[in-house]
């Protein structure tokens, strides 16, 4: 075990990444020369034991690449990654005994097996005795609301049921560290809420359990995580508690405005004095704007510009900054805009 990875804030570290780089080389083809993609560019990360840690970032930020390195599916190009003090490259076996991973949209497994059989099968790969596996499967299925489906074949399950089963599958080995890679991806609101509730319950049941959760749902990270790191283009930009991250944004103020349809003229708002950024989207009533201002007084310019276009303001309120606001401030674009900067 690596001695240096025991201390951070006086608590042992469950996960540690030290200047991890991962470069993917794409082989040349007839139409394209060889190229390199830097998926992770010197990532330093420390997750304490017992923490529910969120890794937030847009698609292609490097979240899944980092998780794959930590769960021993991928080697870092350089740097070192430790899980529970064990090196993921040289001590992979020790790492595997302590971890499990559940991914969103996972379709793994064997469709002809029943839910209970599926859970039992995966538990065998971790050496769990059949008696313990049966007991654990029953408990987990009851908790996630799949008890009535326990004898249904996996291929007949809905997406939400399948994801709940996957979560149970990840917990069958009672891992010390659980990696959740976008666990609520594609799920409806109710199922996602249930899964988040169970995640909170699971980590609080036993001291020392740690979760690393990746998501691009800001609200999920805000709701669940003790600390959050925002990653973009392979680099960690910010790492702190959600409240502290949002406080960093207090240098700006945020307003939410609903107006009559602006039909694209909202782009002019970004050039107004004191306006840091402006995002817009169409809603039933018209156009919803989320405006970041350098100071409260700049709102007068915004209101004046909108009314000057002959449009009515239907609602206006000052709002608390969200993690997405901080992300936009830091990165310059919304989570959904992989190539477009904020207007």
């Amino acid at each position: 075990m690596d001695e240096m990875s025991t201390q951070a804030y006086g608590q042992p570290l469950a996960i540690e990444a030290r200047n991890v780089r991962r470069v993917f080389k794409v082989k040349p083809t007839k139409s394209q020369p060889a190229k390199e993609t830097i998926a992770l560019d010197g990532v330093d990360l420390q997750v304490r034991s017992g923490e529910l840690f969120g890794l937030l970032g847009p698609n292609g930020a490097g979240k899944t690449t980092l998780i794959k390195i930590l769960v021993t599916l991928l080697y870092p190009t350089s740097g070192q990654a430790l899980v529970d003090g064990f090196d993921v490259v040289t001590q992979a076996q020790a790492v595997r005994e302590r971890i499990a991973m559940v991914s969103g949209g996972e379709t793994s497994g064997f469709g002809l097996l029943t839910v209970r059989e599926q859970l039992w099968m995966f538990s065998q790969f971790y050496g769990v005795s059949s008696t313990v596996a049966a007991q654990r499967a029953d408990e987990l299925l009851k908790v996630v609301g799949l008890w009535d489906e326990r004898d249904r074949k996996v291929h007949t399950l809905s997406t939400g049921m399948r994801q709940r089963m996957n979560l149970c599958r990840g917990l069958m080995s009672d891992p010390k560290i659980l990696f959740l890679d976008e666990p609520t991806l594609g799920l409806d609101v109710g199922v996602a809420r249930d899964i988040r509730a169970y995640i909170r319950q699971w980590i609080s049941e036993k001291p020392g359990r740690t979760i690393l959760l990746t998501t691009h749902y800001m609200q999920e990270a805000d709701e669940l995580c003790d600390r959050v790191a925002i990653i973009d283009q392979g680099r960690i930009l910010i790492c702190d508690t959600p409240a502290a991250i949002k406080r960093q944004s207090r240098q700006a103020t945020y307003f939410q405005i609903i107006t009559e349809p602006l039909n694209g003229t909202e782009v002019t708002l970004c050039g107004l004095p004191g306006v840091v950024s402006c995002q817009s989207r169409l809603v039933d009533m018209g156009t919803e704007l989320r405006i970041t201002l350098a100071d409260d007084g700049a709102i007068a310019h915004v209101v004046g510009s909108i009314t000057g276009q002959g449009k009515r303001i239907l609602a206006l309120q000052k709002v608390e900054p969200t993690l997405e606001d901080v992300f936009v401030e830091t990165v310059g674009r919304r989570f959904g805009d992989d190539t477009q900067p904020a207007a």
């Binding site: 991962r22 993917f24 080389k25 794959k68 769960v71 021993t72 599916l73 991928l74 080697y75 076996q93 595997r96 005994e97 971890i99 499990a100 991973m101 991914s103 996972e106 379709t107 793994s108 497994g109 064997f110 002809l112 097996l113 059989e117 039992w120 099968m121 995966f122 538990s123 065998q124 790969f125 971790y126 050496g127 769990v128 005795s129 074949k153």
Partner: protein, 271 residues
């Protein structure tokens, strides 16, 4: 060490389970994997009868047809299985577990053996009942030893193939396709491999099926001296092949896994 042994044994049982259960729950394989291949066996029997070949040749075909079941299981039930698991997303989960990779593959093999054995048995029953094949079982212990050694060597070869799928995807699938018929030919699946001549026959003995089939035929049909080399030499060849393939498979699995993780191809789908 006991902990590791128990872990890997549980993994073998766990991985074999879906194969066995799946076959019972989707029984169409009985038609495709047992009844249809019997047609090929039957065709060769009629060819030999039309050529007035000695009756033992019918037995040769029956033994070859029954061993084909295991060769098919090695290629498609073990080697290519990792390709499907990669596409299904299960490979990621399997590569993350603490049990050994060999245990997973042995589990796959054990699960597939059930169907393969059933197919082999049906082929032999058809041979006995329909085509009146008579086997000499006076050297049954040696026959079983040859069979077991052939299986060990064959499945060791299968594990070696499986390691290719960790790195490649469709390329390994094409290799499987390429191997099927040439191995059928060079192992003397439906004829005595002695027909190739001593030198070629010995070269082809690097494929476990070749010495295995030849030895089994010599033991089951001693009246027809069509063997390539004496059975005791073929047993020795099989024992060596078994050890070589098992060691090579273990190293290849480790090497391919490391290479795949370095290049980032372990979990790339639709490759």
């Amino acid at each position: 060490m006991t902990h590791n042994l128990l872990l890997n044994l549980r993994a073998v049982i766990g991985r074999a389970y879906p194969r066995i259960v799946g076959q019972n729950r989707a029984p169409t394989w009985v038609f495709y994997d047992i009844l249809l291949p019997l047609l090929a066996v039957t065709a060769f029997v009629f060819v030999y009868r039309a050529l007035n070949a000695p009756p033992e040749f019918t037995g040769f075909v029956i033994i070859g047809g029954s061993m084909l079941a295991f060769w098919g299981n090695v290629l498609w039930g073990m080697g290519a299985e990792l390709f499907w698991e990669k596409n299904d997303g299960t490979l990621e989960l399997i590569m993350m577990v603490p049990c050994s990779r060999m245990a997973i593959l042995v589990g796959m093999a054990a699960g597939g053996m059930f169907a393969a054995s059933l197919r082999a048995l049906v082929t032999i029953i058809v041979g006995v009942v329909l085509f009146n094949v008579r086997f000499d079982l006076s050297r049954l212990p040696m026959l079983l030893a040859v069979f077991v050694l052939t299986m060990i060597a064959l499945y060791g070869l299968g594990m070696l193939f499986a390691s290719l799928y960790l790195l490649w995807g469709r390329e390994a699938w094409h290799i499987n396709n390429l191997l099927m018929e040439p191995v059928n030919l060079t192992s003397g699946m439906y004829f005595p491999v002695r027909a190739f001549g001593q030198m070629l026959g010995l070269i082809f003995s690097l494929i476990p099926l070749t010495p295995g089939l030849d030895a089994m035929r010599q033991l089951l049909f001693p009246a027809q001296p069509m063997g390539l080399i004496p059975v005791r030499y073929e047993i020795a060849i099989l024992a060596v092949l078994g050890m070589v393939f098992a060691v090579a498979a273990s190293r290849a699995l480790r090497y391919m896994e490391n290479l795949a993780k370095t290049e980032g191809r372990l979990t790339v789908r639709w490759q």
